[in-house]
Each structure stands twice: as structure tokens, then as C-alpha cells.
């Protein structure tokens, strides 16, 4: 990378080891304080999932007993195998996964290209296009749902996954906006230097911007994957073949007009949540300080 890193002034002075010690103590105190702040809040944030997990292991009778039971006894593990046979769970999961992965790949490719145009290329229409992009986020979907359905019907896409995947290959307004913000924090000198060297815009996009924007791209991937994983209204409107259904539709099969299979519903909810927890767990490694470019701000 053609970036000059600003060096710290040499500090090989006498007081160095003392300063280091103070720094260590300060660091330890700081970390204790941070833990003290994070732990109580973590309990609150853990509650929904813990309650869901606890309920998924409850025998029917303990489900809503008062006072509430947090650790069920005995643990009703059978809710899990029962939940996956009560509905065609794995079929729905495969469908959901397919849609989510394809849409996420598409949205990453397209949105980053568009964001590059808005953030890095000084062309005249970019402000208007940016405002237009924001505007698409502002009109409530409830009133565009029917006309959009008619559009997809004319394409012959109703009762297929196409309406749930293809539009994402043309960009997502939220992600274009997000990536634009991140691209704009990268010094323009980088692009200009590359342009002088004769690099094409695509080359700059591909070999400079993208590698520097890994955290932002990971954020987009997480957001879009979760959005597609949880999308309810899209699959509801466009799919009419149970073979194509997704988990967000399937989860309502545990409920009936007058009752609900609460234990199974919660077991299924746990299983639906796990894949996205795993995805997050691995992707979050990108959010580790130190990979960002150095020394060119200001």
C-alpha cells in the first residue's frame, strides 16, 4: 500500500519503564471498569435468549407456571426432535439459507459498486442519486406492496424465489448508504495516486477500497443475512408452494387458532437463531482493531 505510516517519535528516555508500569496499571483498572459496566448489562441482553432456551426445554406444564421457572426439571430435550418433525423444518431451513446467501452475495457486490460511484467518483449526478437512494427508504412498504407484486407478476416471478433474491443484486439502499459513508472516510489521495499510476476505477475499487472496508462489508453481510433470514412479508406474499416456504413462515405453523405448541415453537426458535449466532460469531473477528489503514488522516 502506498501509504506513509507516521512514526512515533523515539521515546527511549529514562522514565520509560516507569511509564510502562503506570500504563499497565491504568490498563488493568480500565479493563476492570469495563467488565463492571458490561456484565450487568449483559444479563439484561441475555434474557430474551435465555428465556427462549429455558422454555424450549420445559415440559408443557411448567411453561407458564407461576412463579416462573427458569431452569426446567426435567429437561424436555424431546422438544427439539419433535419440533423438526412437526413441520418440514430442514426443508424450510435449506430454502431460507439459499435465499439468504444468494441475496447477501448479490447485495454485497452491487451495493459496494454503487457506493463507490457515490463516494469516490466526483460526477455531477451523485448527490441527486444519493438523495434518491435515501428516499427509497422512506416510503412505507405497505403502500408499494401491491404495485410491486404486480411488477413481479408481469415478470412471471410470483411463486418463485426470484422476487426475494433478484432485486438485491441491483443494490440495497441501506447498504449503499452505509458503504458510501465508510468509503468516504478513506483518504482521496489513495485514489488519486492510483489514478496517476494509470489504475482503472475498477482496479481502485477492487484492490484499494474493498480491502480497506472489510468491517463495513462484514456489517452489510450480517445485516442483509439477518434481514433475509427473518423476512416474513416477502415470502408470505410471493410464495404459495409449501415446498418453497421459509422458516419465518414455518414458525407460525406451531400456532393454531386456539392453541400453540409453545415448547416446540421455542425449540424451533432456538434452532432458527443458532445459524445467525454462528455467522456473527465468525464474522465479528473482522471487527478487531489494528487492520485499518494508518497515518493518513488529517
Amino acid at each position: 500500500m502506498a501509504v506513509e505510516s507516521r512514526q512515533l517519535p523515539p521515546t527511549l528516555a529514562d522514565g520509560q519503564s516507569k511509564r510502562l508500569l503506570i500504563k499497565r496499571v491504568k490498563g488493568a483498572v480500565r479493563s476492570v471498569l469495563i467488565h463492571a459496566g458490561l456484565i450487568p448489562a449483559a444479563f439484561i441482553f441475555l434474557l430474551p435468549f435465555m428465556w427462549m432456551l429455558s422454555t424450549s426445554l420445559k415440559p408443557d406444564v411448567q411453561f407458564y407456571s407461576y412463579p416462573p421457572v427458569l431452569i426446567p426439571s426435567p429437561l424436555q430435550w424431546s422438544n427439539f426432535p419433535d419440533a423438526v418433525t412437526y413441520i418440514t423444518f430442514f426443508l424450510y431451513m435449506r430454502n431460507t439459507l439459499t435465499i439468504a446467501v444468494l441475496a447477501t452475495v448479490g447485495v454485497l457486490l452491487s451495493s459496494s459498486l454503487v457506493a463507490y460511484s457515490l463516494a469516490r467518483i466526483p460526477w455531477a449526478g451523485r448527490h441527486i442519486l444519493f438523495i434518491l437512494t435515501l428516499a427509497t427508504l422512506m416510503l412505507p412498504f405497505q403502500v408499494t406492496m401491491i404495485p410491486l407484486f404486480i411488477v413481479f407478476k408481469n415478470f412471471g416471478w410470483v411463486n418463485s424465489w426470484l422476487p426475494l433474491i433478484v432485486p438485491h443484486w441491483f443494490g440495497g439502499a441501506l447498504y449503499i448508504f452505509l458503504l458510501r459513508q465508510f468509503f468516504m472516510t478513506i483518504p482521496m489521495e489513495l485514489s488519486e495516486a492510483a489514478r496517476i499510476d494509470g489504475a482503472s476505477e475498477f482496479k481502485i475499487y477492487y484492490s484499494i477500497l474493498l480491502p480497506l472496508s472489510k468491517p463495513a462489508l462484514a456489517t452489510v453481510a450480517i445485516f442483509e443475512f439477518i434481514a433475509r433470514w427473518r423476512d416474513y412479508i416477502g415470502p408470505l406474499i410471493y410464495l404459495s408452494d409449501q415446498e418453497l416456504y421459509t422458516l419465518s413462515l414455518g414458525i407460525y405453523e406451531y400456532q393454531s387458532q386456539y392453541g400453540a405448541e409453545w415448547g416446540l415453537l421455542m425449540a424451533a426458535s432456538v434452532m432458527i437463531t443458532l445459524p445467525i449466532i454462528l455467522l456473527f460469531f465468525f464474522l465479528q473477528k473482522i471487527f478487531v482493531q489494528g487492520i485499518a489503514l494508518t497515518g493518513i488522516k488529517g
Binding site: R6, M52, M184, P215, I276, V288
Partner: protein, 311 residues
């Protein structure tokens, strides 16, 4: 890649820089421009047209001029309640969400033990399916018997009425919204990765304390992210839907205190089959949101710092 070939070709032909930028800009934006034309233009124009009609979704729309808009402002008390609640929610929840998400992200960015575990935990509520979330919240917030009532009971008190009375319902919903803030935390975490360590080191050398560093290094570099968060949370707050819908079934009880703009819009569209009226509501919301967003955008030049240069 086709784009590469084209752009290289263009450069060889030595077009003026401005023209080259325009062509490249359009090329890179072309998927989105095409997407807008294919999937956005017609539905948007159609809904604008519906807003001037009486339309239920299936019968031909009947032109009624601005009747829907007039009715909203002159004879619809629920609409005004919904506007009030929505503005209240936006004004109270947005600053809290920014402070809260930013603060947690700072702590979660520190190099501490179990960082990964913490991050995952704070993200969890965002992932729990809505049906399950409804149960959990009820389990916690039910007056008298809910989890949160326990400390009050220890003192022989019943505790607040949470969602069952008008004065507590709105703040309670703000509280619930702050719970699912995981995505915003991620956003700030991603932003924090852009802060060059050597800026901190340089500040250290200057003898800056934590707060000076925070104000002079961290905040300026994160302003593009704050700008994003601000704009999207204005849009999100004005379209606040899922949480009150889960908690009240969209009834607006008690005393319309949980009736929000998009819930009322949704009810008009799909319960009462007043798609024209709902479209008018949608376009009012659209205009208002656009106005606020443009205001924020114009103001951005004073407070948003782009290392890549001015907009």
C-alpha cells in the same frame, strides 16, 4: 470484468476528466439505476396516484383529489394521536439509541477478556424471532407478576404499570426499542476499526486524557457513521412498527398511547381496505421524512468529517 475493459478503454481515448468521471460514475451506479427503474419507479408512482383516490386494492381507483389529505388533518383523531406518539418516540429514542449504541460499542471495542462473548450477547436480542420476543417481554413486563416487578414486590409495592397505562406505555416502548440495538452497536464497532491507532498514540504523546482523545479523535472519525445512524434511525423511528404491534396487537391501548403512525397506516391499508387513505398517509410521512433528512444532510457539512474530503 467488462467494467475494467470499458474504463481502461475510455482512459486510452483521453476523454476529459469530467466526462470520464461521469461515465464511470454512471457505470458503477448502473445496477442500482436499473433496479430503481425496474422495481421502484412504478410502485412509487402508483402509490402517489392512489393517495388521491379511493382505492381498496381490487376495484379501480376513484379519483377524489386531495380528499384523503384533508380528512387526515381535519377529522381523524387517531391520526393525530399516532403522529404525536411517533414524534415522541423519535425525539426520545434517537438520542438515547445513539448514546447507548456508541457507548456499548466503545466498551466492546476495548481489548478485554471475553470480548467475543460480550459482543455476541449484546447482539442476541436482535436475532430472537418476534414470536419468542413477545413472550419474553410479557414475562418481564407484566405488572405484578413479571420479572421486573419482583424488586418492587420485595418492598410491598406493585411497581409501575408499564404497558397497561398511558403515562408509562410510551417510555416502556422506548426501553424495549433500546434492547434491540445490536445492529447499531455493530455499526459503531465497524466504524471504530477506522480510527488509526497512531492518532491515539500521537494524542498520548501530547498528554491527552481519555475524554480529550474521545472528543478529538474518536468522535470526529465516527461522524460519518453517526450521520448514517441518525438518518436511518429517523426513518426507523418514524416507521416504528414491530415492537408495539407485538405488544398490543396494534390496538393502540391504552388510550391510543401505543398507536404509531405506521401501525395506523397498516390498519387502514389491510384491515379497513382503505389503500388510498393509507397511501396518503404514506406520502405525508415520506415528505416529512425527506424534509428532516435533507435538513440533516445540509447540516452535515458543519459536523460530519470525511477523511476522504468534502462531499
Amino acid at each position: 470484468m467488462a467494467t475494467t475493459v470499458v474504463t481502461e478503454g475510455l482512459q486510452r481515448r483521453r476523454l476529459s476528466q469530467g466526462t470520464r468521471h461521469t461515465i464511470n460514475g454512471l457505470l458503477f451506479a448502473s445496477p442500482w439505476i436499473f433496479g430503481l427503474l425496474a422495481f421502484w419507479i412504478y410502485p412509487t408512482l402508483a402509490s402517489a396516484y392512489y393517495s388521491f383516490t379511493k382505492y381498496n386494492g381490487v376495484r379501480d381507483p376513484v379519483w377524489t383529489g386531495i380528499a384523503n389529505y384533508v380528512e387526515l388533518f381535519t377529522s381523524d383523531g387517531e391520526f393525530l394521536d399516532a403522529v404525536y406518539n411517533t414524534v415522541y418516540f423519535a425525539v426520545v429514542s434517537i438520542p438515547l439509541a445513539i448514546i447507548f449504541a456508541f457507548g456499548l460499542a466503545l466498551m466492546l471495542n476495548a481489548k478485554i477478556r471475553a470480548q467475543v462473548v460480550y459482543r455476541t450477547i449484546y447482539f442476541l436480542p436482535t436475532l430472537v424471532p418476534e414470536v419468542a420476543l413477545a413472550l419474553v417481554w410479557v414475562f418481564i413486563f407484566t405488572p405484578h407478576s413479571g420479572l421486573i416487578a419482583a424488586p418492587f414486590r420485595a418492598f410491598g409495592s406493585r411497581g409501575p404499570c408499564w404497558l397497561t397505562c398511558a403515562e408509562w406505555a410510551r417510555p416502556t416502548l422506548v426501553l424495549l426499542a433500546l434492547w434491540i440495538i445490536g445492529q447499531q452497536i455493530i455499526l459503531y464497532l465497524a466504524g471504530l476499526q477506522d480510527v488509526p491507532q497512531d492518532l491515539y498514540d500521537a494524542a498520548d504523546v501530547d498528554g491527552a486524557n481519555f475524554f480529550t482523545k474521545f472528543l478529538n479523535v474518536t468522535v470526529p472519525i465516527l461522524t460519518p457513521v453517526i450521520f448514517f445512524h441518525l438518518v436511518t434511525s429517523v426513518i426507523g423511528a418514524l416507521n416504528f412498527f414491530a415492537i408495539p404491534y407485538i405488544m398490543t396487537g396494534g390496538t393502540g391501548f391504552p388510550a391510543n398511547s401505543t398507536l404509531f403512525y405506521s401501525i395506523y397506516l397498516y390498519k387502514n391499508a389491510f384491515h379497513y381496505l382503505e389503500m388510498g387513505y393509507a397511501s396518503a398517509m404514506a406520502w405525508l410521512l415520506f415528505m416529512f421524512t425527506l424534509f428532516v433528512t435533507l435538513f440533516i444532510w445540509r447540516s452535515a457539512r458543519w459536523w460530519v468529517f470525511y477523511a476522504g474530503g468534502e462531499e
